[in-house]
Symmetry: C2
Subunit: 100 residues, 2 copies
Amino acid sequence: MKYKKHVFICTNQKDAPKKCCGAERGSALVEAFKASLKEKGLSAEIRAQKAGCLDVCAFGPGLVVYPEGVFYGNVQLSDVEEIVESNLVGDKAVERLVIA
Amino acid sequence: MKYKKHVFICTNQKDAPKKCCGAERGSALVEAFKASLKEKGLSAEIRAQKAGCLDVCAFGPGLVVYPEGVFYGNVQLSDVEEIVESNLVGDKAVERLVIA
């Protein structure tokens, strides 16, 4: 396994009025995850990156953490540190944000 | 696990002369995987989609299959059916294309 954890964050932009994650919100989340991982010296073993539509549009902004395949929805910038500590450094999902 | 298998294909476009996967080649692979899965009636349980840079640029076009975390490089359209049958329908990696 190249990465201990690999986070894919939807940055897909759908046309209104579809609910979606959005390029802007998704990219802000990607940057927040990357900054947190870099600060902790974990960028080599844990990767957070952009992805296209994860098919959880109704629950956006959405992301998935592999290898466990936990999907999170309605993720805000203020949730990033908790997800990093609990589910990336640790192996415990942040249950209140889990959608699948 | 929402998906039995989840394939992320790099469609990131880097500036020349960097080796990369590229929007055009990556998107053609995404479409080929989607078409194969749809034809087999597997779209609900196996998802293939676009992703940003997977950090395997030197080996592009690249993709990763989760939950096992197998990275493939130099993937051509002619390799799609073999990857689908062997590693998505089945659980056997296509070793000649594995890079990590």
